[in-house]
């Protein structure tokens, strides 16, 4: 089981590495969006410190969403997806591997860059740390839920906009809890409860969404 999972992840990472610009584009999109906000609202430090968690999290949501179309589209175009569906290995497991690879090339870089971005917003060290931890726990959930949307909209016209309509409302809990963790830390409260909730969401999504994605893929490809 783990071997299959590792094989799927390795393959997707290799493919992503061969097309580095795709990965970097998502990352730069995230950085640019976060940077634009202070330009829009003004450089007042206290205000920036207050809105930082929400801004970073919303930008992460958008960045994760924009990269979703890539998740299955190229495999669908070159026929590799059909081979995955025909494979004797359990499809939810393969899907889990693909979502994990998607997180490694989008969520993980975002998490690492967020530490640098929190300097822009003058976040305290502990708040910046909690922001990174909350992103590390929350962005895999975004990849998992997003995979459902990506699988359902596979090969549809206007797929990109449609994904956002389907997926963004489902992202709401992650956004609230993730940004809430940072705000709690900034207010001098304990963020542990939020982080545990995020971890719970991650486990819940990791167990359930692969089945939904597998069903959606079979519907979209049949």
């Amino acid at each position: 089981m783990l071997k299959i999972l590792a094989a799927v992840i390795r393959r997707d990472l290799l493919l992503a590495f061969r097309q580095r610009s795709d990965v970097l584009n998502t990352l730069f999109f995230f950085v640019v969006v976060v940077t634009l906000v202070p330009l829009g609202v003004g450089p007042e430090t206290n205000l920036l410190r207050t809105i930082a968690p929400g801004v970073v999290w919303v930008a992460a949501l958008l960045a994760a969403m924009l990269s979703l179309a890539r998740l299955f589209a190229s495999d669908h175009a070159d026929g590799a997806l059909e081979q995955l569906l025909l494979s004797p290995e359990p499809l939810p497991l393969l899907v889990l591997g693909k979502a994990a690879a998607h997180w490694l090339v989008t969520g993980l870089p975002l998490t690492l860059v967020s530490v640098v971005l929190s300097i822009q917003f003058d976040l305290a060290a502990d708040a910046a740390l909690v922001l990174a931890v909350s992103l590390a726990l929350g962005t895999p959930v975004l990849s998992l839920i997003g995979a459902v949307g990506a699988a359902l909209t596979l090969g549809l016209r206007g797929g990109g906009v449609l994904i956002s309509l389907l997926v963004l409302p489902l992202y709401v809990p992650v956004l609230i809890i993730g940004a809430g963790a940072v705000e709690a830390t900034a207010a001098g409260l304990d963020a542990q409860g939020y982080l545990l909730l995020l971890a719970g969401m991650l486990l819940f999504a990791a167990v359930l969404t692969p089945w939904a994605v597998a069903a959606a893929l079979r519907i979209s490809v049949e």
Partner: protein, 250 residues
Amino acid sequence: MPGKTGINWFYYAAPQTFYPLAGRLIPVFAVLAALLAVWGLYIGFFVAPTDHQQGESYRIIFIHVPSAWMSMFLYVTMAFWAGLGLIFNTRLSAMMASAIAPTGALMTFIALWTGALWGRPTWGAYWVWDARLTSELILLFLYIGFMALQAAIDDPRRADKAGAIIALVGVVNVPIIYFSVQWWNTLHQGASVSITRAPTMAKTMLLGMLVMALAFWMYSIAATLARLRPIILERERRSDWARELLGKGT
């Protein structure tokens, strides 16, 4: 396959037999909806006493609360039919789900609209980031997502199944969204705008609200069936019975 009651429940699961039944049921539910609405509005506007805190503006709850109830109930019903269609591959259940969605979205919209009208005199703002309001708005987004997905897919079978998956994912998510929004709100500001803290409701108010809820329910059934009939005809247009029926009409 007759059941214990002697009624064949599966008989009407076929679009062919349900189509005329729906046609007969629509007037029944429509008339029931109209009568109940007249009764409920009469109680709401003439019998129910004026609220000593909110004055006359509270009377919008006779529209607001039933539509909010229906908006949530219809989403679960929609997901139920969609799931049934996905599991048993029954065509009619999937058509039912797509027929329910616009009514559900309408109910959500009415609930938000009337809520805004009520909020202006009561809270002094059309919109506050209250947990109930926010989750109702997200519910509207979920309805829109469901309809947008079905509209984007040309093949009706794929549209049915894809819609079913997003409806089921949504149903699992609705409680999570509701509680996270509630928690988010209570952390930011106290529950200053809670409806539950209002004084206990007078019996006539409750009666009016329940009658109106029944009226909305009957309306939803009638509207859903009315929307279902053309869907059935469109999907079954290549079958003999539909051709015969359509040929008769022209």
